[in-house]
Symmetry: C2
């Protein structure tokens, strides 16, 4: 089977970090074929579609995708829908893996946390109405999606030797929706006796994560809570410049740095490529099932950081391309 990667750089710094990170990946996978595709705000302004059909088709065909970052409009724009949210759903990437690891000289030491975020429903289904004075949105939680993401989380836990799974919810206020998510997750997890399962209200989870991020092993959360808590966790892992994620499904996987398009620093070769590099490492491990290459890439990133080579967000003076040169030299 040919190894293909659909490369969606997107807007802003996506245009810088993605090509550089892919350049590093090529050294590990010389046989890799890449297919560039457009998405994002610029694409929308040009074509009226933030995720053109040809992009979706390319992503489906490749299976593996890297999605950089996109800008979004400040207000509702007719016809605009977030391309990453669409892509996650269209490609059936039901689980969003968001690890926070302590990297050399970044953030709080001793963290090795994996947040698994449900990726297809909750308040992200886009069902909103408004008459201008009253607006409503639907939060939807289904048994099938909850089961699916819980099963992925438990399988990952076992594969990675993790021992504790903390289910996040707000069932004291949302007993039917969040209660369903929590109950289904507990049922699924009951088949994994090696896992210690507990649960936290989302507000308490935020508090405890901030007090002792090292104390957590794995969090399982619905879409919105996972969004908030993974950004929070990133604060303790060196910030968004290094926060990686993988959207994982049966038919496709999307490597996605957690950061946005950061227009304020775009075009200056100062954006941190680590988030993209580590997102590709997740793709190597979980999609292509090449853990040895994942380990090599992660080690090279660690070695580069340990050598004091850093982009400005981490207090260094390396550029995006220069950092990747240094990683290549250490692969």
């Amino acid at each position: 089977m040919a190894m293909k990667l659909c490369v969606i750089a997107g807007d802003g710094i996506g245009q810088e970090v993605v090509p550089q990170a892919v350049r590093v990946l090529r050294q590990l996978l010389p046989q890799l074929q890449t297919v560039a595709a457009d998405a994002g705000w610029e694409t929308f302004q040009r074509s009226g579609n933030a995720l053109p059909p040809v992009t979706l088709a390319a992503a489906r065909d490749c299976g593996a995708v890297i999605f950089g970052a996109v800008s979004s409009p400040a207000h509702k724009v007719a016809g605009y829908r977030s391309p990453i949210v669409q892509l996650r759903r269209e490609l059936g990437c039901h689980a969003n893996l968001r690890p926070t690891l302590s990297l050399p000289g970044c953030g709080t030491p001793g963290i090795d946390l994996l947040i698994v975020r449900e990726n297809t429903e909750d308040l992200y289904i886009g069902e909103e109405q408004s008459d201008g004075d009253t607006a409503t949105a639907i939060k939807r939680i289904t048994r099938v999606a909850s089961q699916r993401v819980a099963a992925s989380a438990c399988q990952l836990a076992v594969a990675e030797g993790r021992r504790r799974l903390t289910i996040v919810h707000k069932a004291n206020i949302l007993p039917l929706t969040d209660g369903l998510f929590r109950d289904v997750a507990r049922q699924v997890a009951a088949d994994y006796p090696q896992l210690q399962v507990d649960e936290l209200l989302v507000d308490t989870a935020a508090l405890k994560l901030a007090q002792a991020p090292q104390a957590f092993d794995m969090l399982l959360a619905s879409n919105l809570y996972g969004d908030i808590l993974s950004d929070l966790a990133a604060a303790f892992g060196g910030g968004l410049g290094v926060a990686a994620s993988l959207n994982l499904g049966e038919q496709a996987a999307i490597a996605e740095p957690v950061h946005g398009s950061a227009p304020d620093i775009a075009g200056q070769d100062i954006a941190n490529p680590v988030a993209s590099l580590l997102s590709l490492a997740l793709l190597l491990r979980h999609w292509w099932q090449l853990p040895a290459l994942d380990a090599r890439l992660e080690q090279a990133v660690r070695a580069t950081l340990a050598a004091g080579i850093r982009t400005p967000d981490l207090g260094g003076s390396a550029g995006t391309a220069g950092f990747c040169d240094a990683v290549l030299a250490r692969l």
Copy 2:
């Protein structure tokens, strides 16, 4: 006018911290009349109602309320609704003030943050449905409630000399609901030229709050985001033992420590009464309009902490009652 306080201790440590904090308040307000009333899980189990009509009537009559904490059932129980959520709505307490201050020897120095949380709608309206496989909840945002809480936030900002108001939302995913909240807040704030207004996505707000809580002045958030971010902020202010709040409306105000009923430490005289004391201080300032007494109470709490007198959650060995004795001695 007689000064009356409706005292709802609730469950668990509510039964300890509330009476002790009220004992301190009496010294500042000897003319205070108190009316005890029941609410919570024990009350529900006894009477079938977590917020009996007689409690609601007493709270309405007094105007000023202290609500300790209540336990809640792990699963949906027919007829049970969260009494604090009901009370906030029934008493029209549309704004929830949640300050985080650096106290002597607690948490991160240099924080003086006020979170103003909308308190009546969002996902807290209790409109949920489920067929067992698909569950939905309604998130409702109205212009009128958004206006009301934004106006309160701006008035408070001016009264307290605050300069920066950060509106929190997720309008990139929820342009109609969160977009309405954001837009209305911006419109209201435009009448306060002395305020610098900006906005953050809720995920970014969590990240930035964790990175630099000192950098924020005032956050304005809808109900659920305010819930999560205020617990998060509490992590940097010394934890839930000292996190105070005031639910404020036109007809009533509810002083409410942010912590829960903490059954694991209940009945041992070790719960921290600071959250209740500082919640009463907020009542003195914002409801009874007695800023001098508020300042005296806050100073006495600070002096007690500064003297190294602390409950076990802050690494000390003082008991709930003993801590309050020490505060009384410093009033």
